[in-house]
């Protein structure tokens, strides 16, 4: 940094910067490969024969066999569980939006009395270890016939879905110009109409992204689904683990099922890509 003419110094810095960027690319691409390889391998195992799958050295060139992507649907209740998950996610997400949208609206538009405590409550609900409420809910659900049902799961998923959705919707509602809401009020809209006609439509992409992210979380949930369902209400995530079988683990089916359960989520995430960062940061990054 010291010595040399100013122009030489500048050149040195530029060169160093170029090398630094090159190194950065190498590291980043290495990280991408490390990130993707396990999932690639999951797919590879699902398309190999049992003998091929675990031979050493692993055969890199083989004829992929996709038959398990068809056979899993009628096996180990996977198809039924897949439908269950769709139902749980749709009902759960609708419920979450129904509860979180008005709450987020109120928190953005009004100075809510006790708002600080409400925020704390949301955070604590979100951070509660699952089994604190899963075990009592198991007892309650057994009594009320909600055990092993889709609706029972959708209800309890609100515990993490509502705080998450409220935080996200708040950050999306904040982007709606306050003046528009005020103008709607002057024009005679009630607060509810202002929410429905101004805020929700204007924040529609954000609301959709919220729905997608909450949905992905519900789809992937393990702890609660494992404890509160058994057979009829079982979700896809739990069904994937169900390919364990009695004698041996059916790796090919299990991996095919895992890939089948994961791919839709990656697609949804890609759809919501623009809003993903905001969603993953709980709207905390402005």
């Amino acid at each position: 940094m010291s010595g040399g003419t100013p122009s030489a110094w500048r050149l040195g810095r530029r060169q160093r910067r170029r090398i630094g960027t090159g190194v950065a690319y190498v590291i980043a691409i290495g990280a991408v490969l490390l990130t993707l390889f396990p999932l690639y391998w999951l797919f590879v195992i699902s398309t190999k024969t049992p003998r091929e799958a675990f031979e050493t050295p692993p055969s890199l060139i083989y004829v992929p066999d996709f038959s398990r992507y068809f056979s899993i649907w009628s096996s180990a209740g996977f198809g039924h569980a897949f439908v269950n998950s769709i139902i749980v996610v749709i009902v759960g997400v609708l419920l979450a939006l129904l509860i979180a949208a008005p709450a987020a609206y109120a928190m953005v538009r009004f100075r809510v009395r006790g708002g600080r405590w409400l925020r704390l409550w949301l955070l604590l609900a979100y951070t509660t270890p699952e089994f604190l409420f899963v075990i009592p809910m198991y007892v309650l659900y057994q009594q009320f016939g909600l055990y092993d049902t889709q609706i029972g799961l959708a209800l309890i998923y609100q515990l993490f879905a509502v705080p998450f959705a409220t935080w996200l919707l708040q950050s999306f509602f904040e982007e709606v110009p306050q003046d528009l809401g005020d103008a709607a009020r002057v024009d005679g809209c009630s607060e509810l109409e202002t929410l429905l006609r101004i805020y929700l439509p204007l924040a529609a992409p954000g609301v959709a992204a919220t729905a997608i992210l909450v949905g992905i979380n519900m789809w992937n949930e393990v702890t609660i689904a494992l404890s509160l369902t058994f057979d009829q209400g079982r979700t896809v995530t739990i069904a994937v683990a169900g390919f364990r079988g009695y004698a041996a683990i059916r790796w090919q089916e299990m991996t095919a099922a895992a890939v089948t359960a994961v791919v839709p989520m990656i697609v949804f995430a890609a759809v919501a890509q623009r809003y993903l960062v905001k969603g993953l940061t709980f709207g905390a990054v402005k």
């Binding site: 692993p58 419920l95 809510v112 270890p129 089994f131 604190l132 075990i135 993903l276 993953l280 709980f282």
Partner: protein, 298 residues
């Protein structure tokens, strides 16, 4: 930011009207968060095994757990896991965020690809890594064999199991740290960083004295969410070791699950969770004291 303050005479009535919109939230959270908490607390003073026996035992469950070796092991394991995983994820996530922040073309696609593990459920993650880390058929051991390292037991080796679980979580969740810190880095005031560079600060100095202090609030948010999430660890252990070998990966939530659903010792598992929830609560409140939520919607 919180709601912009509203001045003038309408403030009062507006505040009143806001309350109605919170009714569904309060009802739903009340039902699924207050009720179970109170129920667990109540049951922790009873002896109940999902049968006829239902006796008030005072604080016997708490005393039992205080001297319970397995519960203590589970608590210790849980914290070892959380500290190890969060530390590793923080270092890697921050490093990756700094690296990707330097990139020009392709940064967007790299960022997106790095996020993919976050879309995978814990069970699928467990399956993937069980296959990869298998001592005999796993490809990781095959790779180690190629470079002349003998077979490592990973998940089946009592000395390696916890490290393996930490490794799995790191693969799974580093992306969360990465993406939040990436967003934080992009939001930093460019002038300040440039000024430091013009003043001759080295890359490390800029990181130490400019970037990290500016990132502090967002770092704490990330740390809090990762810490809590790790303390709650369940799926990746359930899907791989189930708490073993021996009790080397037994976490609190795994133990509570086994106690409630395998041994049907309902009251004891609820007592465990009451104690553990208080511990988690203390951790959350400690983070809040650091000012996590300032400037956010949390």
């Amino acid at each position: 930011m919180t709601a912009p303050s509203i001045s003038g005479p309408i403030t009062r009535s507006r505040a009143d009207r806001g309350g109605r919109f919170l009714v569904p939230l309060v009802l739903s959270l009340g039902l699924i968060s207050i009720y179970p908490t109170v129920y667990s607390l109540y049951m922790s003073f009873f002896d109940w095994n999902w049968g006829q026996r239902f006796n008030f035992v005072g604080i016997a469950n708490y005393l039992d757990l205080a001297s319970n070796e397995l519960f203590r092991t589970a608590l210790l394991n849980t914290f070892v896991f959380a500290i190890g995983a969060v530390g590793l994820e923080l270092v890697l996530g921050l490093g990756l965020a700094l690296v990707v922040n330097r990139l020009g073309r392709g940064a967007g696609i790299i960022r997106t690809l790095l996020l993919i593990p976050l879309m995978v459920s814990g069970i699928a993650v467990a399956i993937v890594w069980k296959i990869l880390l298998d001592p005999t058929i796993g490809i990781v051991n095959y790779g180690l064999h190629l470079v002349g390292i003998g077979s490592i037991g990973f998940l089946g080796d009592p000395n390696m199991a916890m490290a393996s679980i930490i490794l799995i979580d790191t693969w799974w969740q580093t992306a969360f740290v990465f993406i939040v810190l990436s967003a934080g880095l992009q939001g930093l005031p460019r002038e300040v960083l440039e000024a430091a560079e013009v003043d001759g600060a080295t890359t490390l100095q800029r990181l130490r004295y400019v970037t990290l202090p500016l990132l502090r609030p967002i770092l704490i948010v990330v740390l809090m969410f990762r810490t809590i999430d790790c303390l709650k660890v369940f799926a990746i252990i359930f899907g791989t070791t189930g708490g073993g070998p021996l009790t080397t990966t037994e976490s609190v939530q795994i133990l509570a699950y086994q106690t409630a659903f395998r041994q049907t010792n309902m009251s004891l598992s609820m007592t465990m969770m009451v104690i553990f929830a208080v511990i988690v609560l203390v951790v959350v409140l400690a983070y809040l004291r650091l000012g996590v939520t300032r400037g956010t919607n949390l």
